[in-house]
Structure formats: C-alpha cells, structure tokens
Symmetry: C2
Subunit: 343 residues, 2 copies
DNA sequence: AACGTTACTGGAAACGTTTCCAAAAATATG
DNA sequence: CATATTTTTGGAAACGTTTCCAGTAACGTT
C-alpha cells in the first residue's frame, strides 16, 4: 500500500508538496503536479483515511439513526441517504435503535464514539430543543415534521418531511367525503411527540371540520415493529366496534395489517370497511384490493436530508426545514359508505 | 475532548501506562489501573478511533454489501449484522449495489477506500474463487449457499445460508404432493450463479423425481427490485398459460406480486392456483390468504455471518460454511389441485 | 544591479494512539 | 545482604496525513 512518502521519494519532492497536489491546493507548479499525479497512479496510491481524519480532526461519517427500520417504508430512504453520502464523499453509518430508545442519548453516544460529523434522524420526535442539539454535538436533520410550533428551537436543527398533520387531515377528509363518519385511526407506538401524534392531530382536525366528535374508542395504538401484535390489536378493535366503516392507518404497514384483520373478521374491503394510509411502500401495490395511500417521495426525503446536512457542514449554511408533498396513489380500498350504515 | 495525554498528566503517569490500562494489558499494577480508570471516567475520555486505527494500521469496519436491499427480506438480516457488529466492537458499513453491479469489483473498491477489515455479501453469487477472494483483499462471508460444488474454492471464504436447492425442492414437492403438475416458477433477475439458479435447480429436481418434465414455458424471470414490472410479467404468464395450477416463488416478494397477479386475472387462491415461496418476511403474515412460505431464520443469518467473520479476523479461524434450515410457515395459499384440472 | 514581489517548495510539528525497549522498582532466591 | 528475577513503569518512535512557517527560486520593476 503506497503512501504519500513513497510518492514523495519516488518523485524527489517533499511530502508536503505531494499532499498539496493530492488536495488540489493552488500553490504548486503544473509540472510537479503532473509528475506527482503520475506517480500516484503508478504506485496505486490509496489515501489512508485514518491518518487523514486524525490530522484533520474529523471524520467523513454521517450517522443515520433510525427507529423502526423493519418498516419497509424506511428502506428507500436509507438507500437514498447512502447514495447521496457516497456522491458527496461521506460515509453513511447506519444505526438502528429500538422503539423505546432515546434517540438523543443514542445519537450523542454515536457522535462521540464514532466521531460523526452530522446526524440524520428517522422515526424520531418532532420537537428537539437547543439542548438536544448541543447534546448531539453535531448538526442534525430530522425527517419528521417540525415546523409551525411556536415553542420549538427551529434554528437548532434542520428537518425534511411531509406535513404530517395536513396530509393526515387530507386522507381522513377523503373518507369523510365518501360519507364515512365512524373512522378509526391506527397509530403506532407512543402517540407522544412523534409522527404518530402529528397525524393524530390531522385526524382530529378533519373530524372537527366535519363536525364529527372524536370517539376515543376508535383510536387504536399498536406497536409497529411487530406485525403479529399489530394484527391482533386491530382484530379486537374491529370486533369491539362493528360500527366502524373506515380506517385511517398512519402507515402502509399498519394498513396492510388492517386489511388482514378486516378479512379475518369476515368483512370485506371496501364494501364494508374502507382503508386509507400514508406511506407509499412498493408492497402496497400488491395488496388486494390495491391500497389507497398518500405516497411520500421516499428517495427525495433521503436526498434532501443529506443535501441540507452537507450544506450546514461545509458551507455553514443555516438550518432549514423542507416540506415535501405526498401524491395520492389511488387504489381500491376506499369506497362510498355502505347505505345500511348511513341510517 | 479528553485524550490519553490528559489522563496521563492528570494521574502523573506515562502515556504508555494509560494506554495499557485502557487496553486491558496485564502488566500494570492494580492501583495505577484503578487510578487511571477513575481519571478516564472523570475526564469523560472517549477514545479517538482515527488515531487508534492509524497506530494499529487497521479499521474496525466491516462492510455489508447488499444487492437488492429494497427487498424487505434483507432488513432483519441487516439489523442483525449491525447489532452483532456493535456487540463485538465493529462498525458496520452498509453498501447497497444495483442489480447489475459486480459485487467483487464494488467490494474490492470499498475495502481499500474504506479500509474495511472484512466483508459480508448479501444477494450475491454462490461461486466465488480464490481469485475473487484475493481481489477483495479481506476475508468475506457470503450469505448464499455455496457448498457441495466440486469446482469451488471453499476455503477461500465463508458462507452462511440455507440450502437453496434442497429447500426449493422441498417447497415444490409440497405442491406436487397436493396433486399439482403444472407448476410455474418465479425467479428474480438473472438466473445465473445466484440464489435464483440454486432454487431453480431444486425446482427441477423435484419435478424430475416426480417424473414431471420441465416445461420452459412455466419458468418466469422477473426483476426483483421493481414490483410493478414483476407484477406485469407474472400477469402475462398467467394469461399465456391458463393451465397453471401452482406457483413456486423463490421469494416472498415475488409471491405477493403473484397473488396480486392471480387476483387481477380473476382467478382465486388457492382454489384455482396455489402459491408457495421461500422467505419469511413479516408482511407475508398479512396477505389474504396468508402466504405459505418456508421461513428463513433471518436474524440468525446475520448473527452467524458476523460471528464467522470475526473468528476469521481475530482468531485466524479457517473459513467455514454454515447451513441453516427453514421452517414451514403454513398459510392458506396451498391447496389440493382442483379436480377439473386433473383430467 | 539591486530590490520587492510572487510562485513554489521543503522542513517540521502536530493529530492521538500503540508498542518496543530500556529503566526502575519490587520481589524472590541463595 | 547481594544478586537474580519478575513486575511495573517511562521514553520515544511510529502510523500517514495536513499545515504552518520559512526559505529558495524566478520574475518583474525601478
């Protein structure tokens, strides 16, 4: 493995000169530059990142902390993050955390132990503070809607996300427009300060606008990272509340579990029960009937997250918050409310 | 950020002593050890990996190269790999490659540029050579069945996998036992030298044993990383060959696409067409009917892969090949062949 | 021709570890 | 108690970069 020193002695120049060439520093003559590059090629020089990082007191690693990565929804995002990192010369370090882990604590540990330059958070909260930001000790981007909250420290970090509340509201309204009033909502994990909570708010808003009172019995919380338990939980909801005519699932995964649960209960979709969700995973194209979902631009989320982070890192750009939109992917799971239920 | 030097001056000992304590070297007295550890705690010492790696001329990174990571099947494996790496003090570096990329080339590039200590391959070929192994420049474990081929260099690398051929044979036999003879097979990507090919061989073997001739018209190759095109491809198969009564899909994802295709064609499962696959993804519990599949021990694959690799790395253990078994997850997609089709 | 610029280059220190070797201290042996 | 042995410690070099500072060379300007 050739080193800079090897190149230097090979070319009869100083180590510092070689380093300058390799880093495209301006103060070096054209012919020595050529000579050095030629030698580097000839000797198959590969830079030693450890040494570089040590000298520069840095790393080229960006951490991707994801909660609930078994959710297929995240995979395209992870892929996009990795690809974008690669393109910009960074290394993505993936770290999955369990549902009940504290992402700030884990993230902070990661940043110091792996000397990460920045962090991207998937599936975390929406309300980080300056305190959290300084706990991390590195800039971070969270992929959860964070804007428009008066009490948040929006300049402490960046975010890339859809407007969870608005999109949820949109989804539920589509059900209401079809005449549904008994609309259940499927939430994952703790509702508190998460995507779950924002979408729940959207659900509430849509109901409120339509003058439908919130029925706590229609609110169903499950644990997302376990399909079986989710299924169980939804099944009992459907049995307990036979008056349900529609379900809004906050993720495709939950929607798919719900479809199964509905089927298990001997009801059919969409004639008995309509289902809509937010997500856009590939698998939802293959349910029967095809799942009606508000599809998020998954790859774009990943790309934008890296873009923002790198700007903050390299250009000292201010933190920013990007809002993306979903696109309705019409399927066959939403129908007019059954006439018998209207009575 | 406290360094070893800080600890040394704080304790009035030499830098080398501190290093020894931190690395659990034996030659250090109990009380200095205690004193140093106390100081380390007090000063919030975090080791600098770059420096460590530089001195040791190594990295603690293990590369996970995965082809087709959009397949939800891989996610639990990825997670297990990350977890195991963490536990053993390594960092997993995930790298996704496209369907047509050469994993040896990509892997080799990765090993030098990121100075990886070892490699784990997901979704690659089954027939690596000594040449490939030395191209990598680091030990590697592939998660594809590799054993029992006379012409392979089995001591050049390790593997962890189910016996693809045997398991495929088992699956197809289950269909044959139900009276099916017109059994289609769904393969992803290029059949050549991949999991796909091994499972195809199992399919052939089962047919041969039952005296059923291979019908090339029942062999359907798709591209796995695109649900839509897979769906399309399978739909036309079903239309072209209305005599099909059963489908063996080599992955759950393909099976789910097939279920949709069958439904689109107005046929029903399992009364018209039976489906079985190899996989075990969580989502397959939520299809209607529930997918009958031979479930792989996903987490175990990841754990074992890391275990083997670390043994090779740390204890210079010889390369080894681990075979795991699937467990039948009975669903509702396999039924007796329809009497009308028996004629 | 002397000088001041500018363009380029080399030397050396620094980054935070590990590890070899030698020295010092502690302990055992006669 | 002197010596031999073992245990524990310190000093210094090394890992491969980057970068600051000083120095040389080339060049134009008066």
């Amino acid at each position: 493995m050739a080193t800079i020193k090897d190149i230097a002695s090979y070319c009869n120049v100083a180590v510092s000169t070689v380093s300058r060439v390799l880093n495209n520093h301006p103060d070096v003559s054209a012919d020595t530059r050529e000579k050095v590059l030629e030698a580097a090629r000839r000797l198959h020089y590969v830079p030693n990142n450890s040494a570089r990082d040590l000298a520069l007191q840095q790393t080229d690693s960006i951490g991707l902390v994801v909660r609930g990565a078994e959710n297929p929804f995240f995979m395209p995002i992870i892929r996009a993050v990795e690809k974008s990192c690669e393109e910009k010369g960074y290394t993505m370090v993936l770290h999955q955390i369990s549902a009940d882990a504290d992402e700030v604590e884990e993230g902070a540990r990661l940043v110091t132990s792996k000397r990460l330059k920045g962090l991207i958070l998937l599936g975390g909260r929406y309300d980080y503070t300056h305190e959290d930001a300084s706990a991390f000790g590195a800039p971070f981007v969270c992929c959860t809607y964070t804007n428009h909250f008066g009490d948040l420290d929006l300049d402490a970090y960046s975010s890339v996300s859809i407007d969870d509340k608005a999109e949820a509201c949109r989804a539920v309204k589509m059900l209401i427009d079809k005449g549904h009033t008994k609309i259940a909502i499927l939430l994952d994990a703790a509702r508190d300060r998460s995507v779950s909570e924002r979408r729940f708010r959207g659900y509430c808003e849509a109901l409120a606008e339509a003058g439908i009172p919130l029925d706590e019995g229609l609110v169903c919380e499950t644990v997302d990272d376990d399909m079986e338990s989710a299924l169980e939980r939804i099944e009992s909801l459907i049995v307990e509340r036979p008056d349900i005519t529609a379900i809004f699932a906050i993720t495709d995964t939950l929607a798919i579990a719900a479809m199964k649960a509905v089927d298990n209960a001997g009801r059919s979709i969409p004639s008995d029960i309509s289902i809509i969700s937010i997500g856009g995973i590939a698998m939802s194209l293959c349910t029967t009937p095809t799942l009606t979902t508000l599809a998020q631009p998954q790859a774009l989320i990943g790309e934008k997250a890296v873009e923002i982070l790198v700007d903050v890192l390299e250009k000292a750009a201010p933190n920013s918050h990007i809002r993306l939109e979903t696109t309705l992917r019409p399927g066959g799971t939403v129908g007019q409310v059954h006439s018998g239920d209207l009575a």
